[in-house]
């Protein structure tokens, strides 16, 4: 989903003194979401492996990444970074006067 499709106005609301803080909130929430997705998957992997009688933790430590593995992980890492940074180049609507004190 492209950033442009998220709002016909093309601008996002901003609540803090600088847009950067609102952008950081977006980044943190995206990271938190992906972090959770991964944690849940790892939890299920370990449980499923256990059901199959596989000692997964030891196997994970012993595994050597192949060049293909590394290429795939690099692609996925790039997608994660783009997702986290999706708010950086958007315009924001200011709701707090810049000089107002918190």
């Amino acid at each position: 989903m492209s950033a442009a499709s998220e709002s016909s106005a093309g601008r996002r609301e901003a609540f803090f003194e600088t847009d950067a803080i609102d952008q950081l909130v977006t980044m943190i929430l995206e990271v938190a979401t992906d972090h959770w997705v991964l944690r849940e998957r790892v939890f299920v992997i370990e449980k499923a492996a256990e059901q199959l009688g596989i000692r997964l933790a030891e196997a994970v430590e012993a595994y050597k990444l192949s060049p293909e593995d590394q290429q795939l992980l690099a692609t996925q890492r790039k997608a994660l970074i783009e997702n986290i940074m999706r708010s950086v180049n958007r315009q924001h609507r200011r709701t707090t006067p810049p000089n107002e004190q918190p």
Binding site: S7, F16, D22, L29, E30, T33, W36, R41, T95, E100
Partner: protein, 392 residues
């Protein structure tokens, strides 16, 4: 708190997508309960005393509360996280909805007519600017971009994530609560024809059809997308609903043709002028003895300045341009302007039918419920607000 739609159009999601949707849903629950409570506490302990010191009185209006809260850190985090969560709701369902669109279209075609419902689109209908020109609720593309059922699918699946489990098993708790209020509060009233206006995907129309299985239920909306999706949805649930593409301000039904005209979360999407037009139309198509009944956010006049400010957050930050304008109205005036007698106006609050025994629900609707900051708000102590009028 995993929440899966259980009807025939529910998209199959992979484990990561399900985990993402659960996270966003739970994040919204945290915002609307924990963060909202922290913001209220910050208002009571910091913002209100500061305002009183400066002005020698408490805020009298929600605008004064809003202005005072803008520089409050708790408000900033609440708003920023809530705004992001709203975007994340749609982002969590959009990829799957787009990928499964061909299958969805095929499923709707195969289900059509299975349960006795129907779909009638009007390609010549002019889509009102408030629907065509705005991504209402920040939903990408808005509700009526085309006839493709994609917008309907995004809305239905997004609502499942958005509602954090507060809106019933089939996202139909509003329809179930309102229809069962009518059934149990007025046991002699037996509607034969029911019209749901602004019905989107028909989730509440299906609830009315379940509560009154002998009635013929119609559901209208200007969006072909949500109606097409809603048709397949209702057919898969085994509930006959007749979906028609129509503007509620200009109904294509004859005079005196319905016993109930119902809306849910619809009026606040309209300008006051269009609400008056719609109520005039509702009055025209109702039979004598029929009922107009609307589920809505409670009017601002029933709430204190802080709760007004809290509920009107959507008006400022969630692409809901008419939300506050509607809530500032006196619903009795609106109903009267539509041709109903002021003496025939009624309003009520109702607990959530889906989450309690019917016996307790029936007992609750016969006692006067109070309107407060939890009315119409997705929280653990939620109750719905309704108002309407009888046609004599």
């Amino acid at each position: 708190m995993p929440f899966e739609l259980r009807h025939g159009l529910a998209a199959q999601v992979d484990r990561d997508t399900a985990a993402r949707q659960d996270f966003v849903s739970q994040l919204r629950g945290y915002i609307l309960n924990d963060m909202a409570a922290a913001m209220r506490e910050s208002y009571d302990k910091t913002v209100l005393p500061a305002f009183e010191r400066t002005h020698g009185r408490a805020p009298r209006t929600q605008d004064e509360v809003h202005a005072a809260m803008r520089s409050n850190t708790s408000f900033k985090f609440y708003s920023s996280v809530r705004y992001n969560a709203q975007e994340m709701v749609w982002r969590s369902v959009m990829p799957t909805a787009q990928e499964s669109l061909p299958k969805l279209e095929q499923t709707i075609r195969s289900l059509s007519g299975k349960s006795g419902g129907s779909l009638e689109l009007d390609p010549a209908l002019a889509i009102p600017e408030n629907v065509a020109g705005l991504p209402v609720h920040l939903m990408p593309g808005g509700y009526a971009p085309s006839e493709s059922p994609l917008a309907g699918a995004v809305y239905d699946h997004g609502l499942a994530v958005f509602s954090a489990g507060f809106m019933g098993r089939d996202l139909d708790d509003i329809g179930l609560s309102m229809s069962n209020y009518v059934k149990h509060r007025y046991p002699d009233f037996k509607p034969a024809r029911i019209l749901d206006c602004g019905a989107t995907v028909g989730h509440n129309a299906a609830a009315w059809a379940r509560t009154f299985p002998q009635a013929e239920v119609h559901a209208i909306d200007v969006s072909a997308s949500t109606l097409t999706y809603g048709h397949g949805r209702a057919e898969s649930l085994g509930v006959p609903v007749h979906f028609k593409q129509m503007d509620a301000t200009s109904l294509k039904y004859p005079d005196s043709s319905f016993d109930v005209v119902f809306t849910s979360m619809f009026l606040h999407e309209l300008s006051v002028r269009d609400i008056q037009k719609f109520f005039s139309e509702a009055h025209r198509v109702l039979r004598p003895g029929g009922m107009l009944i609307n589920m809505e956010l409670p009017p601002n006049r029933e709430l204190g300045p802080y709760d007004q400010f809290y509920l009107d957050w959507d008006s400022y930050y969630n692409m809901e341009p008419y939300y506050r304008t509607f809530r500032d109205q006196n619903p009795e005036d609106l109903v009267e302007a539509g041709g109903f007698a002021r003496a025939d106006y009624f309003q009520f609050t109702v607990p959530q039918y889906s989450y309690m025994d019917e016996k307790d629900f029936v007992a609750a609707i016969h006692t006067q419920q109070r309107i407060d900051g939890d009315t119409g708000r997705l929280s653990a102590s939620l109750q719905w607000f309704g108002f309407g009028a009888w046609k004599r």
